[in-house]
């Protein structure tokens, strides 16, 4: 006998509260509060009363905050360490290069926030005012929110299970005074789990423009990105396109190019073709990208003539085009 298990189909997962037991039928289901699995669930009374078929109270508050945000973009990957946070930061800086545009970056990687370091604002704290938490500003038109601004020390581990992470994400969406934004970019942790489900379910109603997917060329990364595309399709998020990062290494001495992460199965370009998503471009491996991130400086400003900068700017133009469609 083969012990195949199927994960719960996603429409259910969006309706499964993070504190529900394993076999929760979904709060919108006819069986909500009445199924065998509901016995002992903390939500049983609420579900049985039918109240859960009404929307989450945070949703209208999120909708109100998000009414003044024009474009909402998720940066996703599935695989860890492929450069999601670095790309998010470059995208933020590039959008903010236009003085008339207001940009926000929201970091929902609760256990491993990198955005404060990459943007050079790691020592900042969040302040609250009557209109909510105010984001930390990198420059006048680039505001940032991350759990990194809330920890007493950068060494502290955030050992939270799903429900607490979801609580914080809903606060980031309803309690942060984002103001009028042209772009809100959301950096996510790897995987397809609580953070992803929460951000999608909270933002769904206000409308997500789409997701930019990041990969590296090797199959071990591509297989996770396939899963992420599957996730986007299940929850109905448009894929703005795929970026292949760390594509080839150009030696700073002899300009010779070598493939460190070989695209053994055709890399990002082939994946984009196979899965019918737009391919946005490839960014080479450049040690100066890692250094800039560690020092919190903008790579695009620092090395305007590098091939990686050209690649980034090309990709960002394509994203803008996609947003206009």
């Amino acid at each position: 006998m083969i012990a195949v298990q199927q994960p719960v189909p996603l429409p259910d997962a969006l309706q499964v509260p993070s504190n529900a037991p394993e076999h929760c039928p979904g709060t919108q289901s006819e069986l909500a509060g009445k199924a065998d699995a509901c016995a002992g669930c903390p939500n049983q009374d609420v579900c049985a009363s039918g109240a859960t078929r009404a929307p989450d109270p945070a949703v209208p508050l999120v909708r109100e905050r998000m009414a003044t945000v024009k474009h909402k973009i998720l940066v996703l990957s599935g695989k860890g360490g492929v450069g999601k946070s670095t790309f998010t930061a470059q995208l933020g800086w590039a959008f903010a290069a236009d003085e008339d545009a207001q940009t926000g970056i929201m970091d929902v990687d609760i256990c491993g926030p990198s955005i404060p370091t990459i943007l050079g604002i790691a020592s900042e704290q969040v302040h609250s005012s009557s209109s909510g938490w105010s984001p930390v500003y990198v420059q006048d038109n680039l505001g940032v929110m991350s759990v990194g601004f809330m920890l007493p020390s950068s060494k502290d581990a955030v050992m939270w299970r799903g429900p607490k992470k979801n609580g914080l994400i809903s606060q980031f969406l309803k309690d942060v005074d984002w103001g009028n934004l042209d772009y809100l970019i959301v950096d996510t942790p790897p995987g397809t789990s609580d953070e992803h489900l929460s951000i999608v379910s909270y933002l769904k109603e206000s409308g997500i423009d789409g997701a930019v997917l990041i990969t590296t060329p090797q199959e071990v990364a591509l297989q996770d990105v396939r899963r992420e595309i599957d996730f986007c399709r299940k929850v109905g998020i448009r894929v703005l396109g795929l970026v292949e990062n760390m594509s080839g290494f150009v030696c700073p001495n002899c300009k010779n190019e070598s493939q460190i992460f070989k695209p053994s199965t055709g890399g990002g370009r082939r994946l984009a073709e196979d899965m019918k998503v737009p391919f946005l471009g490839a960014v080479p491996l450049d040690p100066r990208i890692g250094k800039s991130a560690d020092y919190g400086i903008s790579f695009l400003d620092e090395y305007p003539d590098s091939p990686a900068t050209t690649a980034y700017l090309d990709i960002i133009d394509k994203i803008k085009e996609q947003l206009e469609n």
Binding site: I2, C251, I260
Partner: protein, 281 residues
């Protein structure tokens, strides 16, 4: 922690001498590659060593691909799930991963915490590992549901547990490695040591070492935090290709031994074996 608690997990895992949790905080630093290499190296460390490798990265399992086991199904026996053996009939390298349970490899596993917790409990209690010298556990990035669940379910065998922390040299990775270390301290998980992965790159043309991801940060962190530094592994593009290749037969071990990383890793594995056997006595 009650070491005598008679839970299904305790009953299964009491036959496992050492359980090594590979963790990092940061994504993509090489946890899965190091778990795979550790399993292979430990297997070669003695002709009778029995190794298990458990992949608890439920939404991004890499171990099946890296060990060339993509698409293998898991069979059910009267005594629980039968792990997939990476070395066929020799049966000295047992693997379990959620990747074996998916119908299609591009299926996303979209699970919230409680479902993950249940799956991990099942992996620990229902898999027929048998007697093992070492069980290597590959974890996802972060310090969240998977990690907390692992520690909770394995509390009855806490004396068998230890961790290896993996980092790369960049500041963003070290920052998360620190968080991971704080986690191990908070849950009293002994740390065998720290590995700095992707540390420097030896050019295949001229042999010059260039610092793609800089170098040395891991060693410095180990010194500062009083951890054993297990070693650094340079960027090795042959290793990437090998772990990508998904060979069906158990050619992997022989091919792995030809990479430039294998001898470096053998030293790390030796050090781990030594530390653990010191602990036994």
């Amino acid at each position: 922690m009650a070491s005598t608690a008679d839970t299904p997990v305790a009953r299964r895992l009491q036959h496992v001498k050492h359980i090594i949790i590979v963790c990092s905080g940061k994504g993509g630093v090489g946890k899965s590659s190091i778990s795979a290499q550790l399993a292979l190296s430990l297997r070669s460390s003695s002709p009778t060593a029995k190794i298990g490798i458990l992949d608890v990265d439920l939404t991004g399992p890499s171990i099946p691909r890296m060990l060339g086991l993509d698409g293998h199904p898991v069979h059910q026996s009267s005594d629980g799930w039968v792990p997939v053996y990476a070395d066929g009939s020799e049966a000295r390298l047992a693997c379990m991963s959620v990747g074996f349970l998916l119908k299609k490899k591009e299926d996303s596993v979209v699970w919230r915490g409680p479902k993950k917790n249940a799956m991990i409990r099942q992996f620990l209690s229902d898999v027929r590992w048998g007697e093992l010298d070492y069980l290597v556990i590959d974890t996802p990035p972060g310090t969240s549901d998977e990690h907390i669940s692992l520690m909770e379910h394995m509390a009855p065998v806490a004396s068998h547990l230890s961790a290896v922390i993996v980092t790369t040299p960049q500041a963003v990775a070290l920052l998360d490695a620190m968080k991971c270390l704080s986690f191990t301290r908070a849950v009293s998980l002994p740390v065998l040591g720290l590995i700095e992965n992707m540390s420097g790159y030896v050019c295949p043309c001229c042999g010059e070492i260039s610092n793609i991801f800089s170098t040395g940060g891991g060693q410095e962190m180990a010194r500062r935090e009083g951890l054993k530094f297990l070693g650094s592994l340079p960027v090795d593009s042959d290793l990437v290709t090998l772990l990508d290749a998904a060979e069906i037969s158990f050619e992997l071990l022989r091919q792995y031994q030809q990479t430039s990383t294998a001898p470096l890793f053998a030293k790390i594995a030796e050090e781990i074996v030594r530390t653990l056997s010191d602990k036994e006595t």
